[in-house]
Amino acid sequence: MPISKLIERLRARLDDPTYPEITEWKNAHPGGKAIGCFPIYAPVEMVRAAGMLPVLIAGAAGGIGLDEADGCLQSFVCSVGRSTLELKLDGFLEKLDGMMFPSICEISRGLSGVWARHDPGKPVIYIHFPQNTRSESAKSYLMSELNRVKDILESIAGAPITYDALLSSFARYNRRAELLARLDILRAEHPARFSGSQSYVLRLAGMRIPPEEHSAILEEALRELEDTPEGKTPKLRMVMLGAFCERPPVLMLESIEENGIAIVADDVLLGQAWWKKPLELTGDPIENLAGHYLGEAVPNAVVYRHDGRPCDSLKLMMEKTHADGVLIASAKFCHPAHHDNSCIVRECEKHSIPYLRIEYEEIEQAFESIRLQVEALLEARERLPFAGTGH
């Protein structure tokens, strides 16, 4: 079916808080278990290798009010944190057989603790990814963590996770990463054919299904895009940074793009594009995974980098995609993003790169002030002739 149709179809069920995909998968795989994973990156490869379904649980994206969660988390906690808990408290996550929280930030750490209180009896797995990535002891520590998680996952799955299973799971995720990369290139080259919001929907579709099924969708998309006609050329090509954890609403990207801005690259759903290069398919998979995390994770705001330059990813993206400007889009109350943004802003000012600094919330449904800023930016760039004549 044409890409627009495909997107439409995927979008229809994107934010269904009842997670029908899990039910379908469990029906198709009797006795199968599903593990929820809080953003950004949790060892999904391992979950899949255990024959279980890893599900990215990144909030409810506006489907529900946060009334229960507001009784547990203060209003200065990011929406993804609050709405993820809301899903739990509203009973939407009963289908999950366990929940994983990576050590990305205080919210994730905190939730891992509170979660058990609201979901007694079900395993809550907190995994501490070493922040001191260049310490000699980091690798052995991460391996011990991964092995600890492996044991828990095995006990949930009721079956051991073999090395072969791990390696073939790696292969599946490598495949998906490769397809995503091809789509990224296509988008950067033909934003008028394949928009940022479309690419985003394609990636969102992968949150609740196994990587191989996601890959199938991506392949279909690639086929369709071959002979999709070009739309009208965008007024401005921008990369979007800072939205690596909390999902920006699809509607937000659309209302940005409908004004003639093309989002040619972004860091949303970063977990899907977590590796700089494919996972090794030989040797000790646990060691591969640990080594890969310490060496080959993409630069991001929640893994400390000793060269300590949050702007690396910016420069990289802009060169790769010939972007004109930067859309600094961070979730409200996302500390890691807010810190890095101040550097990115300074970088943009220094090289006089046009930029826009916007804040969003996953639960938002109206984007007037964002649209206002986008339009104002474009009006300013279109250099209305009379400005300055001063009469």
Partner: protein, 262 residues
């Protein structure tokens, strides 16, 4: 013997006068405005006239509400939750849980048959001012309060307002207005949003039958309806809900006098 309770709230000032048998003799309700002392006096005057007596007839006067310290003629002050618990337990004897929704704060209170506060939870700092919010909503939408009071929560899926902050909620509403939503829908959405917030506060202290809705918002029919819809449970509420705080204060006054006479 007469006991008087005065509840000086952020937007309204209420007064209730009880006789020795705790029968309501007179009530007063005025806009608080900038001069709380004046407001208290006016409310008291209204109540006195209705009770057909003079200020010196009052055996005791108890003040409550934000402006409770501004009332020179009150002998003692009590906090809102104590008064609302006491008042609610008296007005609706089955009461075990109270939601007091006023101009500034929403408070959920768990109480017992005697109307003592067992536990209470107040709204998050960032969701203060819900009552005032409804007021400002009226001029944002250009519909009078009287009309707002008659409006009902939506039957089908209500508009979802995501902001707890009333300032940002106003912007959200503007976005909806621009999106062509009509006032009915928006007011309904606001009712539901406030009700849901109240419900989650109530759950924080533990829902226990019966539930009584008191304070300034409680006599807005739509709000009460929305609250019981959200809770899926009937809620005591009525036009006199706004007086419950003052009633409680007056009852606490009676207790005082009784103790003294013992």
């Amino acid at each position: 013997m007469l006991s008087c309770g005065i509840d000086v709230g952020s937007s309204q000032t209420k007064c209730v006068i009880l006789d020795g048998n705790a029968i309501v003799q007179g009530r007063g309700l005025v806009h608080s405005g900038a001069n709380l002392l004046r407001a208290a006096r006016h409310a008291l005057k209204e109540a006195l006239t209705e009770a057909g007596c003079e200020e010196y007839d009052l055996t005791i006067a108890i003040g409550t509400g934000y402006g409770r310290f501004a009332i020179p003629f009150s002998h003692r002050t009590a906090t809102e939750p104590s008064c609302h618990a006491r008042g609610a337990a008296y007005r609706y004897p089955g009461t075990r849980t109270v939601l007091d929704a006023g101009g500034q704060n929403m408070t959920a209170i768990r109480t017992n048959a005697e109307g003592a506060v067992l536990d209470f939870a107040m709204n998050d700092k960032c969701s203060a001012g819900s009552g005032r919010f409804l007021e400002s909503l009226t001029d944002l939408l250009g519909i009078p309060m009287a009309q707002l009071k008659e409006m009902q929560p939506p039957s089908e899926k209500p508009l979802l307002l995501t902001n707890v902050c009333s300032v940002l909620a106003e912007q959200e509403i503007l976005n909806y207005l621009e999106g062509g939503k009509d006032s009915e829908e928006i007011v309904g959405g606001v009712f539901m949003a406030l009700a849901r917030r109240g419900a989650s506060l109530l759950r924080r202290v533990g829902l226990e039958d019966e539930i009584t809705f008191s304070g300034g918002l409680s006599h807005i029919r739509g709000m009460a309806a929305a609250l019981s819809e959200v809770l899926g449970h009937s809620v005591n509420s009525g036009p006199d809900g706004v007086y419950i705080g003052a009633l409680g204060a007056a009852l606490i006054g009676l207790d005082q006098v009784m103790k003294r006479t013992e």
